[in-house]
Subunit: 233 residues, 4 copies
DNA sequence: AATGAATGAGTGTTCATTCAT
DNA sequence: GATGAATGAACACTCATTCAT
């Protein structure tokens, strides 16, 4: 009895572990695929490599994804989270200056996206958009547009509160987006070829970009006493 | 006599036409390859397609380039012009305000690089850097660093002349570089998937970025009468 | 218990069959390759033919050998058995006359090499030596030299025992080697083009060569009563 | 007048040289082809190499030979001389001992065939017989059979004159043929891979083979006073 | 006649995908 | 469900052959 319980306990445990592995499989494969697609490009990545990195055999990959192309699509879908609703809510409840909000946004973005594997998606989409137009359209709709909308709302808030002065608001948003995209590209591509010491320091990079973004390069006349910015920072 | 001259003239002409074709071939192939590599990626582009777009047969491609990989390298090399010396000279002789200089720089960059086929190189390098590390290092050395050096000199000029105020100069240069890279990426990748009317208008885009770059988003206190910027623009 | 044993027995059997096929593959491919390389030459043999003759698809060939050239090298290596040690031992323990020894040697050479697929290697090496100099050197060292050493030992034994009289021993060995090589060439090459009835009969061929080798063409003076040779044969 | 004669003289001279070259072309091409086919095999030799070694362009080769295969056939045909009639006549008028005749024959063969480019044909035929069966049959008929007939006539002469004693005459001829073929193979193939000092010395090789051929390896009883051989050599 | 640029059928090799185990 | 041996379509690259000059 004790023995049998031990045995069945062991079996159950094994079974459970297997189940866990089984359920984890697709995720592990998607992670492996994301990494490799980002590193080497979709076409240059072999299915077998993906399987190997996920610790399974070639055949198993095709058990979960009917083709390499479907794997690609799944990689994108999996990593395109609809986080924007949540962020929009944070936006609504934010109470500080819009400059602070922008700083906060970028810091959070770095923490939750830029520094994570998810940032690889951006590089992947940029590299493969032309080969997967439907996915690109989906990404455009699900990620790019909501992202830009959020940026626009931030800027509009700044303008509405008299903090910002923006002649061309629709295009000003790229002043925020471009540095983030550039940072990702740097970390996933050319930046990896420079000597380690000269790689971009993300925090410093973001700080510098926010500073330029808010105040510009031009020397500003001596601020009057009630300038909001100077109080806050 | 006349006849013989006519004949040799004709032969020379024909010969010249052939010669011209032969000499033009590599360029035509490089152009075709650049286009296709940018569109579809290196691995996903078939040699035969490159040849077909250049109007020759598969075999002819290999008459001029010993392998697809050498073709890739030649595409990069061909399009990495050492234009920076020339630009540095223009820099030295520029006499206006540094803000104007920046505007001028971006305008001619757009005209000479951004709007041309050469801009595809940037997308190509970003997509393939990991697969061609030696080429990436070369590009880093020949294009990225000189470009960043030029940006740094511009910013330093602005600071030296008391026009700019820049806390972190080394990282501020990305405020100029990132928007340009983003513009290129947009035009060669995801941007091509949005409805035609919503594609970025480059002039407007550059104007907006320069404006943000110079003055920032934050509303500035009423400028005093002798502000340089307002005189010039 | 019985059932489980039956099942595992069946599985083991099936597995074994698969294993056997998998393990047999390289050998089947090497055999097919040897045949075709001998028949048509290395360059003129298509990889797909080799695969087809081994009963597998083109791709499978490359599962076992990374390239056609490696296949060639494997074919040679596989068939260059270090049989010479064994033969040298037989040599040491042989007790009859050296003439008998020579007859015996050629007979078993025919049986174990000449009549088998292994003889194709000689033709192959002769045809391809210049294109695969490293393999040729290996063959020279592993086959040619040991073979010639063995011949030399036989002749030396004959001389030492007063049976043979050989003015130029180093070159006399070719009197044995040349007819064997010729026989192989005949069977693998030109000889296959003559009408079936006129193909060399190997036993008769070997007998005739041994006879000439031992006694020469010239009519010999009536042998004295104690001549060894005449007793034995 | 003088001038014009000079010119036309010069032109004629140039023309003559051209003519000579033009007429020499096919021969130069055949020589180049023979060398390369022998060295590398038919399939592994590129047409362009042949042309290059003959000092002409690729196109010119096809001006003289409609295809690579026809070139091969021409190479063989060109080098299969019907020298056997002439040799048969020498045979009829030879007056010495048959042993001397054999020595003379092999010496002449070495001088006129073995040491010349023509010997490459043998290697070529052995390598390619299976791929060019009609050529092989032709070679068999034009070279192999006449050669063997000549050998047979020599042996028959020896037997008829009471000089030779040959149990199996039809197969005894290979005792002469095989060493010659072996010598050729050695010089064109594996032999080229051994250190220079260990290459076969043809004269010594032939002498050794003839000696074995005539007297065999076995020590012969003391010859009686009237043995022909001992007088002559 | 001679050239050599151009061709495209042919071959070695890869790799996504299948399927028997 | 998992495996990995097997497949064959696809692709890089070669080279005999053509033909405009």
């Amino acid at each position: 009895m004790v023995l049998s319980r031990f045995i069945s306990g062991k079996q159950a445990e094994v079974h459970a572990k297997r189940e866990r592995r089984k359920e984890a499989r697709p995720g592990e494969l998607l992670d492996a695929a994301l990494e490799l697609f980002v590193e080497k490009g979709f076409a240059a990545t072999r299915s077998e490599e993906v399987a190997a990195r996920a610790g399974v055999s070639k055949g198993t990959l095709f058990l979960y994804f009917p083709s390499k192309e479907e794997l690609f699509k799944a990689v994108i879908r999996e990593n395109i989270s609809g986080r924007f609703k949540e962020w929009n809510e944070e936006f609504d409840s934010f109470e500080g200056s819009t400059a602070d909000m922008l700083r906060y946004c970028l810091a959070i973005w770095w923490e939750r996206v830029g520094a994570t594997k998810a940032s690889g998606i951006t590089k992947l989409m940029i590299s493969e958009a032309q080969n997967f137009p439907d996915i690109a359209a989906f990404y455009q709709h699900e990620v790019v547009e909501p992202g830009q909308d959020l940026m626009r709302r931030i800027l509009q808030r700044g303008v509405a509160r008299g903090e910002f002065e923006i002649p061309d608001l629709d295009y000003a948003i790229y002043g925020i987006v471009a540095p983030m995209v550039f940072l990702i590209m740097s970390r996933h591509s050319l930046g990896t070829c420079v000597p380690a010491g000269r790689m971009l320091d993300p925090e410093r990079y973001i700080a510098a970009q926010v500073n330029t973004l808010l105040h510009g390069l031009c020397r500003q006349p001596a601020p009057s006493a009630h300038s909001k910015e100077n109080h806050k920072t």
